[in-house]
Every structure is written in structure tokens, then in C-alpha cells.
Amino acid sequence: MNEAAPRYYVPHSSPWPIIGSTALFVTAFGAASFIHQSTEKVAAEGSFGQPIFFTGLALIAFMMFGWFSIVIKESIRGMNSGLLDRTYRMGMAWFILSEVMFFGAFFGALFYARIVSVPWLAGASNNLETHVLLWPDFADTWPLFMTPGGDATEAMEAWGLPFINTVILVSSSLTVTFAHWALRKNSRLPLVIWLATTVVLGATFLALQVVEYIHAYTELGLSMGAGIYGSTFFMLTGFHGAHVTMGTIMLTVMLLRCLSGHFSSENHFAFEAVTWYWHFVDVVWLFLFTFVYWF
């Protein structure tokens, strides 16, 4: 690093943040209008929401591309002093904590349903009268086969596809670690092979998840409308699936960057950040498998 440079690199003004917030706004506005217009009450208004939403997404992709490419350039030019590297690491760690809390809200809903609301509706705790007067026929089971309102569903079996998916995701966490080791040793070929394997595993996971959803909807009657069991099931697995999708895309980008030789054995924080993210997604899945499918 240049001796005369300030100890900390402060970037000049940049167009990407404002492009990013505009993109976010367009996406948000589009998403809200889209959802809003899909209700019957206002369906007559037409549906400009959808195109706006996708425009917004495209803008976000454009922003990410632009923003990350300057960060990459800075990194390649060696402007990321040790301090900046620490900054990015810490930033990523705290970001993952915020994601943990986001999942926490949905797990909270799951536990609340299992420990509080479903037993209460069946008369537990201080809710005997709730059961007697309002839902006399309701029985406390989990998975909830029959809602108080009378919607029936079947439960998703844990040891079929979900178990296979667990194996896939856990192995992908291993392969990405192998890739990381390879990168640290600067061995290009194993790096690319292991990383590509990880991407393929991620994609397979997603494909199986789609198969599982189709199975749930068509054969089990397990849908988002199937009471709190279906609600928590799809919210948790769906939100997790969205994260796997993001992770797979990021891994793919890393693969491309490895192919164009962006990383060195010392300087590869972006790669590490993605592996952290991937491990996080994996750990969340283990919780999911345990509490959504298994017990």
C-alpha cells in the first residue's frame, strides 16, 4: 500500500447508492401495487404493478453489478487495507445476525403456534372456555391435521425428500469448505471443481424443493391456506428457499470470479463472505428440518 495514502480509504462520492435506493423504491412500489392489484376489489385498476416490479428488480441487479464492480476494482488495486477488510468482515457478520433475527420472527411464530395457540384453542392454560364454547370439536395435534375452522391437511414426511435435501445441503457446506481450502492453497482446479459442485448441489436442493411443493399442493392438500401448519411450513421453507436462491446466485458469481482469477490466497474476502452466508443458510436448514419436518 502507498505510504502517503490516508490510513483509511474513504471513497469519493458515488452514484450507486442513489441508484440503489431508487431501484429499491421502484421495486417496492411495484411489489405493493402488484400485490394490491391482485385482490379482487381493485383488480379493475389494471396491473401496472407487475412491470414496475420487474423493472425495479432489473435496476437492483444493475446497481449490484455496478456497485460490486467498483468494490472489486478497489480490492484488486489493493486499496482494501487490513482495516477495510476487517470492516467488511464485521459488516457481513452483523448482517448475518440481522438475518438470524428475521428467521427468528418466523421460528417464533412456529413455536408460538405449537406451544401456545394450538393448545389454547383446544382448552389448555387459561383457555378452557375457548375450547368449550368456540371450538368444541378441535383437538390439539401437531402437525395440525384439522384446523379449528375445519380445513384438513396432511403432514409432510420428514424422511423422504426433506432428508435428501438435508444431506445435499450439508454436503454442499462441506464442498464449499473444500473449495475454500483449495483457494487458500492457491490450487485453481480443485477450487473450481468444488465450487461448481456446490453450485450444482444448491440448484439440486432448489429443484427438489419445487418437487416437494408440488407434492404438497397436489397430493397432501398442504397449502398456505391449510391453517397454521401450512402457514409456518411455507413461510419458513419459502423464506429459506429464497435465501438458498440468493446464495446459489452468489456462489455462481464467485465461480465466475474464480475463473477470471480475481482472488488470491490471502485476499478473497468476498469469497469468504459467501461461504459464511452459505453456512448460515445450512444451519438454518438444520433447525428447519428438526422443527418443521421432524418433531
Binding site: 376489489k41 381493485v42 389454547w120 384453542l121 387459561n126 383457555n127 372456555e129 375457548t130 364454547l133 368456540l134 371450538w135 379449528p148
Partner: protein, 377 residues
């Protein structure tokens, strides 16, 4: 303040005086004592905690104001140099803890008694809906709705406001003295909260769940409260009125209600057997509409924006009759348009539907008969 300009000061004084000139100051500063053992104990708790706060306040603010006066630079030019003391830190951590324990004990014992809902003598199921209460006497199999009766003209300042403005209903809940009365609260739509300050009972009414509370009343009287949870547009117009009667009178009242119920079923049979004309139904219908429907659909049937559809020229009031009857009787799930079949009699339903189909320029000429409604039930 010293340097405040004259103009500003005059303005302030004027505003201040103006605000007081119209006041009578026959006002209450304290929490209500109420009429139950529990409400009085809660008031005691309120006094205790208030006293604690006032005393702590006097000590803390006293020290502060003393310091502000005595340790200002003009009096105390050289600041002292201390900035730490483990001892005082420990003291002012433990003393508050002790004070808090002193407050927590009576709060806990009172709470345990309040939450003891066992062995009631009488149970009332209170079902809230936008924006009225339904009271069901579980043991006696009697039930009725309770609506606010304050006229719109008073609300819109067109008439002088009555003494019990906004706190008056058509059918108060009637309760006996000297019985442990248990209240079960629930709701048909959003969350409401049944509150009578004089009983110190405030219990949320949650759709799909039942909450419990109780009160034992010593003396007869009329007690007024309000819905205490934001429940939509007319949250302010959902009063609770409870009439407490001596036990004997209460029993008589229950018998009267039973009788009235039988009579009204006799009335219903008579209604059914008669063939009504448009001229007979329209005024009844108008009355029902103004009482029950106009808060949302407006007295002129124009509705309010997208939220409350216009009935004048509306699709359903001018469309097939069966659809219209079905909608009014069963409501529309998940909207504020509730099911009216349990709330209105055959005659009232027939009348209001007839009215809707023939008022404000709607002219289907349909006359709905109570027997049609009866058959649809």
C-alpha cells in the same frame, strides 16, 4: 422568560386566559374509586405507587434543584473533582430495588385475586362486533345486542349534547348484586376491549379466543364504560352500560326477558302470516337502515369511497333479489359487512331490504315478505 418580547408575552397570557375562561373545573384528578372490592384495591395500589414516585421525585429533584441553585458558577466558581464512588452506586442500586419489592408485593397479591375466575354464580358471554356488544346469559339462555343511542345530530353539534353523551345504549347489561359474575369476552371481527372503570374490569375481546374476568357488585346502580381497544371507524361509539339491580329484581327481570322472548316469537309468527305492503315496510326499513346501516353506507345510501360501497344505484340492491337477501343476512366474510340474520328480526330484515331496493332512486319495486326471510334462515 425575562427577555421575552412583549408581544409574545401578551399572546401567551391571552391564550392561557382564554383557555381557562370557559372551564368549570369540576374535574377529577384521581383514579376512580369504583364500586368493587378490586377497584378499590387497585385505587390503593395507584395511590401507593403515586406516593412512591412523588417521594422519589422530591428527593431526586430536590437534590437537583439545590445543586442548580447552590452550585451555579456565580456561587460556586470552582468545581469539585470527585467522579466515582462505589459505595453510593451500590446504595442507589439497592434502595430502589427494595422500594420496588415493596410495590410488587401488593401488586402480586391483588393480581392473584383478580385472576381467580373460579366458582362464578353467573356467567355472561360478551361478544363484540363492530361496533356493538352482544350479551348472552349462559345460564338463562337469554341474549341481546347493545347499541349506542346517542343521536347523530348531537355528535355533529346540531343539537345540544345530552348528559350521557356517547355513554348511552338501548339495552344495558343487567346484573344482580352480591353474585360473583364472570365475564367471558370474545369477538366476531377485530379486537375490542370491554371496560367498566367502576368495576376495574378491562378485558380484551379477541376473535376466536375467550378471555375471562369477574366482578362482585355490592350496590345497585348504573355504570358506564367504553370499548378500550381501537377497533376501526366507530371505536369511539361503542359504550358499555351496566345496570346493577338488587338480586330479587334481577330474577324478576330475567323472567320478564324469558316472557318477552316467547312473546316476540309470537310476534314473529304473526309477522310471517301477514302479507306486507311496500307502504308499510318502507318506514320500518328506513328506521332500521338509519340505526344499523347508515354508519357505513350513509343515510343517503351513497357509501364512503371504496371501503363502504354505495347502495344508491348499487349493483346488488338493483340486482337479483336472492343475492341481496343472502348478502344482508349472511354478510360478507372478512369485511365489515357482517351477518345481520342474528341481529335483526324477519320483519326488520324484510323491511330494510325492501327499503334499500326502493329508496334513493333504486326502483326495483320488490316487496320482501318476512316469510321469505324466515324461509331463508
Amino acid at each position: 422568560m425575562i427577555s421575552m418580547s412583549n408581544g409574545l408575552r401578551n399572546c401567551l397570557t391571552l391564550a392561557f386566559l382564554a383557555s381557562f375562561s370557559t372551564l368549570t373545573f369540576a374535574v377529577e384528578f384521581d383514579l376512580r374509586e369504583g364500586v368493587t372490592d378490586m377497584s378499590q384495591r387497585i385505587q390503593d395500589l395507584h395511590h401507593l405507587s403515586l406516593a412512591v414516585c412523588v417521594v422519589v421525585g422530591i428527593v431526586v429533584f430536590g437534590a437537583m434543584f439545590y445543586s442548580i441553585v447552590a452550585h451555579r458558577r456565580s456561587r460556586h466558581p470552582k468545581p469539585a473533582d470527585f467522579h466515582e464512588s462505589l459505595l453510593v452506586e451500590i446504595v442507589w442500586t439497592t434502595v430502589p430495588i427494595l422500594i420496588l419489592v415493596g410495590m410488587a408485593i401488593p401488586a402480586t397479591t391483588t393480581l392473584l385475586e383478580i385472576e381467580d375466575n373460579s366458582d362464578p354464580d353467573l356467567t355472561i358471554l360478551i361478544t363484540a362486533s363492530q361496533w356493538k356488544w352482544h350479551y348472552q346469559y349462559l345460564e338463562a339462555d337469554i341474549g341481546f345486542y347493545s347499541n349506542m343511542t346517542t343521536p347523530t345530530a348531537q355528535i355533529n353539534n346540531l343539537e345540544p349534547k345530552g348528559e350521557n353523551y356517547l355513554l348511552e345504549v338501548d339495552n344495558p347489561l343487567v346484573l344482580p348484586t352480591n353474585k360473583k359474575v364472570r365475564f367471558l369476552t370474545t369477538s366476531n371481527d377485530v379486537i375490542h376491549s370491554w371496560w367498566v372503570p367502576d368495576f376495574a374490569v378491562k378485558q380484551d375481546a379477541i376473535p376466536g379466543f375467550i378471555n375471562e374476568a369477574w366482578a362482585r357488585l355490592d350496590q345497585p346502580g348504573l355504570f358506564r364504560g367504553q370499548c378500550a381497544e381501537l377497533c376501526g371507524k366507530d371505536h369511539a361509539y361503542m359504550p358499555v352500560v351496566v345496570e346493577v339491580r338488587l338480586e330479587a329484581e334481577f330474577d324478576k327481570w330475567i323472567d320478564d326477558q324469558r316472557l318477552a322472548k316467547e312473546l316476540s316469537s309470537g310476534q314473529a309468527v304473526a309477522d310471517r302470516n301477514k302479507t306486507w305492503t311496500m307502504a308499510e315496510l318502507m318506514p320500518i326499513g328506513e328506521q332500521v337502515f338509519l340505526t344499523h346501516c347508515a354508519t357505513c353506507h350513509e343515510s343517503t345510501g351513497v357509501g364512503q369511497g371504496v371501503t363502504y360501497p354505495a347502495l344508491a344505484g348499487g349493483e346488488i340492491p338493483n340486482g337479483p333479489l336472492e343475492v341481496h337477501i343472502d348478502l344482508v343476512m349472511n354478510g360478507k366474510g372478512g369485511t365489515e359487512m357482517q351477518s345481520w340474520a342474528p341481529q335483526l328480526s324477519d320483519r326488520e330484515l324484510a323491511a330494510v331490504i325492501t327499503y334499500e331496493r326502493n329508496a334513493w332512486g333504486n326502483s326495483t319495486n320488490d316487496v320482501v315478505q318476512p316469510k321469505t326471510i324466515y324461509a331463508t334462515r
